[in-house]
Symmetry: C2
Amino acid sequence: MQASVTSGSTRTARSRRSARSTSTARGGIDLGGTKIEAVVVDSRNQVIGSSRQPTPTTGGPEAVAGQIVRAMTEAAEGAKLGPSRLHGVGVGSPGIIDVSTGAVSSARNLPDWEGSYELGAVLSEQLGTPVFVGNDVQVATDAEFKLGAGKPYKSLLGVFWGTGVGGGIILDGKPWLGRGGAGEIGHMVVKIDGARCPCGRRGCLEAYAGRGAMEARARRRVEKGHKTELFKLMEERGRTRLTSAVWARAVKHGDKLAVELIDNAVRALGAGIASAVNLLDVEAVVIGGGLGVRFGAPFAGRISKAMHPHLFHDESPPDVRVASLGDLGGAIGAALLARQARS
Amino acid sequence: MQASVTSGSTRTARSRRSARSTSTARGGIDLGGTKIEAVVVDSRNQVIGSSRQPTPTTGGPEAVAGQIVRAMTEAAEGAKLGPSRLHGVGVGSPGIIDVSTGAVSSARNLPDWEGSYELGAVLSEQLGTPVFVGNDVQVATDAEFKLGAGKPYKSLLGVFWGTGVGGGIILDGKPWLGRGGAGEIGHMVVKIDGARCPCGRRGCLEAYAGRGAMEARARRRVEKGHKTELFKLMEERGRTRLTSAVWARAVKHGDKLAVELIDNAVRALGAGIASAVNLLDVEAVVIGGGLGVRFGAPFAGRISKAMHPHLFHDESPPDVRVASLGDLGGAIGAALLARQARS
């Protein structure tokens, strides 16, 4: 995080020289801990090609960059283009982004990515088009604001409820990034001396609502002899993790442990989001992420209800909506970054 | 709170007609639940006259308006001016401010002030100069940002630790008001299912750190047989409330109950302010209010330390400073509102 951070993205000197864009199509990459989502969009932000690849679990940043190139090339082929003909590619990445160089550091969800890696420059070289790197959650928030559920509003909070709980902020029509590290709604404290969070701290919202934290809790409960269908459903689906689909199915079946943990998650989301709204008084909250999109409108309603007892101005609650761009929102948002590419 | 809220203040049509300013001095009023603080400042915002009056406990808004006029007249006399010669007067008020009319409603700390009262228009008529009404906490935050401890920063959070816990937000050099109700840091949830707050909700920061809530807790403890010097010190000072001075004295004496409650307050402030910083990533936190100013730098240090375990970006904590304008900050900030008066 640097004081020089002023916008969500940049492009490198190298990428500028190699730009030979001959179409108005842009590429977008959503770089996640488990999968890489690539899209090609046209000038109206409609998806005209896409690809999904697993995120490599070994090989470090180089392997991840190689897989991004594969995903982007495949998505471009789907749009009947070579990647070098794209009018720029945007990448939404976890970790700390240095937007002046396109470098990404401390991306702890990615393999062996503790140090800094010149992701933007490497991708630009390999793809033959300018590459812009931005924060994954902010990019997804921008997408919902400009193209999705946030379109009617000038101020909103994006809450991405998945493995972790991420947040993005739009104020007065513009992203608010702080000194580069704003939006950590998942690490707002909802319970002093509360549960241990995967981040190591105590009582964070994510300690109750993050899929990672919930899975760890479910595993501990099973070790203590609690009964649950969760892991049976996981195995039936050939998974090694409790995915959003597994949680949704278990809750639908009325699995007691799943219902309890999801209820706690909703209560924590209610308190944490209400705290953020008490501070910022935004017009709307857009709920996205794996669990947010999977559970959909009924749970947005439940979260809204759980916020209510904590809202200071409860006579004027914000609208609570589900992210409307779905799983591709992050990648479509990343493609928005590439609108900065010069013609 | 109205959608039309766009800035911190306004002036009424009536006040415009009655403007006959013949000096560059401006007036500022800090309207509090226990006292009314009035200042006159020169063009360099230096205080050249001041007055403090108790807030009437009966008589409703009319009595309060009358007392404001008395305080302002006395402060103007101190500056060797009649109030009508002031180049506008600003008022920082609790409650919900309609900045398009200068009306104040739901000012629950003030006597019989549940409905709406045309405070700006009434004062303008009686003082013979334009009157601008803004939110008390935001006005005090602006003052610290423009003239006080917040001067070096472009983004900050003002935290006013007194009877309640109020907050004001400056982002990118400008106040952030949301839909008119932003900054309620005192009602961020620090403990789900936690202590009852004076606002009626549960687990708010103010339930642990507000002087009102702490006094109520101390009284309940005494009823249960706990020993404390707090109420003896209060009586010695001829007070009926546990003032900031009483708390400070009791803590200095090592009074066990006082130390425990203040320790809890510091922990809650640490968690709540860290949550706000995790969300907004501001450069600085300015601690003001009766307790904040009374406890001063050593406690700003303690609050900063209590924030640390909860800060997501703990490698780059915000600066934590004590409000430097002291008790008159609210009134000086209110006088800034009057800079909008036309010459």
